[in-house]
C-alpha cells in the first residue's frame, strides 16, 4: 500500500527526516514514533503530497506521490488518503454533514448522505449531523474528524498526533475508533505520534 524509497527532506540545509526504505502492506496499522521535531509530521505531509521531499520516492496504492504534478498529488490525496490532523481542523461555520460532504466532493465522489449517516452512526455521533462544527466538544470534533477521514473509504488513513491533546480515557477511545474504522474499511492506518501511551497498540512501528 505504501512504498518509500530513499526519502530525505532538508529544511534550511538541515535534514529533518530520512527514511531509506519503508513498506506498509494493505490493511496494516503502523506507528511512526519519535520526539517533537523528529520529522514525523514532515513524513506524513510528504506521504500526503503536501510537502515535496528533497529526495526519494513515495508510492500510495501503486500510484506515485513524488515526481508528479501538484494537481496529480492533490487528486491522489483526495481519492486515496484520509487525514486526521493534530488539532482536528473542522470547518466551524458549516454542519458536521457538510464537513463530510466536502470530503466527498473533493474526492470527486457523488453526494452520498447514506454513507455519511452510516459513518456517523458507527462513531455514535449520528445525532450531530446537523450541528455546526464549531458547537462541538473536543471529543465530538475528534470523532467527526475520524468520520471525515474514513467517509470516502480511502485505502490509506494518516493520523498526525490524534491523541496528544486527549486525556488517558479519551486517548484510548479515539485510538480504538481509528483502528476500528480502518479495519472496517480495510484501510492501511499510519499514526504519527510522540505519545508513548499508544505504542503498545501497534505491532509495526517506525522510530524516527
Amino acid at each position: 500500500m505504501l512504498e518509500i524509497r530513499g526519502l530525505r527532506h532538508q529544511y534550511a540545509g538541515r535534514t529533518v527526516v530520512s527514511v531509506p526504505e519503508w513498506d506498509v502492506p494493505r490493511g496494516e496499522a503502523s506507528l511512526v514514533l519519535g520526539p517533537s521535531g523528529s520529522g514525523k509530521s514532515t513524513l506524513l505531509n510528504a506521504i500526503a503530497g503536501l510537502t515535496t521531499p528533497t529526495e526519494g520516492t513515495i508510492r500510495v496504492a501503486g500510484e506515485a506521490m513524488t515526481g508528479v504534478a501538484p494537481a496529480s498529488r492533490d487528486a491522489l490525496r483526495a481519492r486515496r488518503i484520509g487525514l486526521v490532523l493534530q488539532t482536528l481542523h473542522l470547518i466551524g461555520v458549516i454542519t458536521v454533514r457538510e464537513n463530510l460532504r466536502i470530503a466527498q466532493r473533493l474526492a470527486g465522489l457523488p453526494r452520498d448522505d447514506a454513507r455519511i449517516d452510516e459513518v456517523l452512526a458507527s462513531l455514535a455521533i449520528g445525532e450531530l449531523a446537523g450541528s455546526k462544527a464549531r458547537q462541538l466538544s473536543v471529543g465530538e470534533a475528534q470523532r467527526v474528524a475520524i468520520a471525515r477521514a474514513v467517509v470516502n473509504r480511502p485505502p490509506l488513513i494518516l493520523a498526525d498526533e490524534p491523541t496528544s491533546a486527549l486525556d488517558d480515557a479519551n486517548c484510548g477511545k479515539a485510538l480504538t475508533l481509528l483502528l476500528d474504522q480502518a479495519k472496517a474499511t480495510g484501510a492501511t492506518l499510519i499514526v504519527a505520534t510522540h505519545d508513548n501511551r499508544i505504542r503498545e497498540r501497534f505491532a509495526r512501528r517506525l522510530e524516527l
Binding site: 494537481a71 483526495a78 481542523h89 466532493r105 474526492a107
Partner: protein, 403 residues
C-alpha cells in the same frame, strides 16, 4: 457543498460585518445611480423642451430667467415686450416662425400660456379629445393637466394670478376647455394653452392692479404686450446675426435656449459633480472595507484553507472561495444600491408629480448605469483578487505545522 455555499456560510457566520460591508457599498452605488438618473433625465428633459425653439426674444433682464420662464415655464418672466416691436422680429427674413407667448396666470400650478396655433406645432402636439382653441377664453390643456385635474372638453376652469396655486383668482373670467392634448413627453403636457387675446382680456379687467409677477396685458397707453417670442431660424446664419441684432438695436433681449440650458446644467453640474465625487469616495471606501474584510477573513480562516488543501482542494478552488465571498458582497451591494437609488428616484418622482413638477422616473435606466455597474465590478473584482491570490499561494503544510 459548493464553493458558493461555503462562501455564503462564511459570510453568514459574521452577519453584522457582512451587512455593514454590503450597506456601505450599496449607499455609494445608490447615490451614484440616483445622480445618474437625475442628471440624465434632467438633461434629456431640458434638451427636449428647448429643442423646438432656436431663440427667445423677451424683455431685458436675466437671459436664463427669460428661458426658464418662457420655454421651461418654471420661473417668473423678466417683463413684457411690445407686440408691434416683436412683430418686426417675426417679419425678419432669417426667421422661419415666431410664436408669441403671453404669461401671467396659472391654473392650479400649471401655467396658462397665451399663444397662437403655431405653439402646438413647435412640440408636434396633437389634440386627443375635442379641438384646438379658436376663440378668446377657450383653452386646450396638456395631457398631464387633464389627467391630474380630470379635465375634459366642456369643463370650466378659473386661472389665478402668478404661478402659485393660492394666487388671487380671476373668478369672473372662466376659461372653457375645448380640447385635451395627447402626451408628448415635453413641457406642453403641463401647460394650459389659450389665445393671446384671452390673457389680454383677463388682465384688462385688472389693469395694473397686480404688479408682480408681470402679466402680459395692454398698458395704460393701449399698447399691446406679450411676454416673449419663440423664434425658429430659417437659416443657420441667423444664430450668429439675429441675437446680436436684437440685443444691440432693440429694447428687447434675445436668449438661446440651448446655450442657457447648457449654462444651467453647468451651474447645477458643480453640485452634481461634488455629489458624484462623494459617491465615488463612498464606493472606494466600501471597496477598501471589502478588501480589509476579505484579508482579515483570510487570516482568520487560513487553517480552514489549509484543511481544504489537505482534503484535495486545488489552489484555484481556494482562490475562487475567497473570490466568491468578495463577489457575493459586491453583487449584493450593487443590487441593493441600484434598488435604493431607483427607489429613491421613484419616490422623489412621485412627490414631484404630486407637486406638478416634471416627473422623475425611478423605474428606468440611465445611460451611464451600465458603466457604473461595470466600474464597480471591475474595481471590486480587482480588490477581491489580492486576497484570492494570497489564498492561492498559501502553503498548507507550513500552516498546519504552525498550528
Amino acid at each position: 457543498m459548493t464553493t458558493l455555499r461555503l462562501a455564503f456560510a462564511y459570510l453568514a457566520s459574521r452577519p453584522l460585518a457582512t451587512i455593514l460591508h454590503v450597506l456601505m457599498l450599496a449607499l455609494g452605488v445608490a447615490t451614484a445611480a440616483f445622480l445618474l438618473l437625475f442628471t440624465s433625465q434632467a438633461e434629456e428633459r431640458l434638451a427636449r423642451d428647448a429643442k423646438p425653439v432656436d431663440l427667445v426674444v423677451g424683455a431685458k433682464g436675466s437671459p436664463l430667467q427669460l428661458i426658464l420662464s418662457s420655454v421651461f415655464h418654471v420661473d417668473m418672466p423678466t417683463g413684457n415686450i411690445g407686440l408691434e416691436e416683436s412683430k418686426a422680429i417675426s417679419r425678419h427674413p432669417m426667421v422661419a416662425s415666431a410664436t408669441p407667448v403671453a404669461l401671467g396666470d396659472s391654473y392650479r400650478g400649471h401655467r396658462i400660456v397665451g399663444t397662437d396655433a403655431s405653439f402646438l406645432g413647435l412640440y408636434d402636439a396633437k389634440v386627443a379629445a375635442g379641438r384646438p382653441f379658436k376663440e378668446e377664453m377657450e383653452v386646450v390643456v396638456g395631457s398631464e393637466v387633464a389627467r391630474r385635474h380630470q379635465l375634459a372638453p366642456g369643463a370650466k376652469i378659473v386661472g389665478s394670478h402668478g404661478l402659485a396655486q393660492a394666487g388671487p383668482g380671476h373668478d369672473e373670467d372662466p376659461f372653457e376647455v375645448v380640447g385635451v392634448l395627447a402626451p408628448t413627453g415635453t413641457v406642453i403636457d403641463r401647460l394650459v394653452l389659450t389665445p393671446v387675446e384671452s390673457v389680454w382680456h383677463v388682465h384688462e379687467h385688472h389693469g395694473g392692479a397686480q404688479p408682480a409677477p408681470p402679466a402680459a396685458a395692454p398698458t395704460q397707453g393701449g399698447r399691446l404686450e406679450i411676454t416673449a417670442l419663440l423664434v425658429k431660424y430659417r437659416t443657420p446664419l441667423a444664430a450668429a446675426m439675429l441675437p446680436r441684432l436684437v440685443n444691440s438695436s432693440t429694447s428687447m433681449q434675445a436668449a438661446s435656449p440651448a446655450f442657457e440650458s447648457a449654462r444651467l446644467l453647468d451651474m447645477v453640474g458643480v453640485g452634481v459633480q461634488t455629489l458624484q465625487w462623494f459617491a465615488a469616495v463612498m464606493m472606494a471606501s466600501a471597496a477598501l472595507s471589502v478588501f480589509v474584510a476579505l484579508t482579515s477573513a483570510l487570516q482568520e480562516r487560513r487553517y480552514d484553507l489549509a484543511l481544504l488543501r489537505t482534503l484535495g482542494a486545488r489552489p484555484l478552488r481556494l482562490a475562487s472561495l475567497s473570490l466568491a465571498e468578495g463577489v457575493t458582497l459586491l453583487v449584493s451591494g450593487v443590487i441593493l444600491g441600484l434598488a435604493l437609488g431607483h427607489g429613491a428616484a421613484h419616490a422623489l418622482g412621485l412627490w414631484l408629480a404630486q407637486s406638478g413638477s416634471w416627473p422623475l422616473a425611478g423605474l428606468a435606466w440611465a445611460p451611464g448605469e451600465a458603466m457604473l455597474v461595470a466600474a464597480v465590478f471591475a474595481g471590486g473584482f480587482a480588490t477581491c483578487l489580492v486576497p484570492a491570490v494570497q489564498a492561492y499561494l498559501s502553503d498548507p503544510a507550513s500552516l498546519l505545522a504552525k498550528r
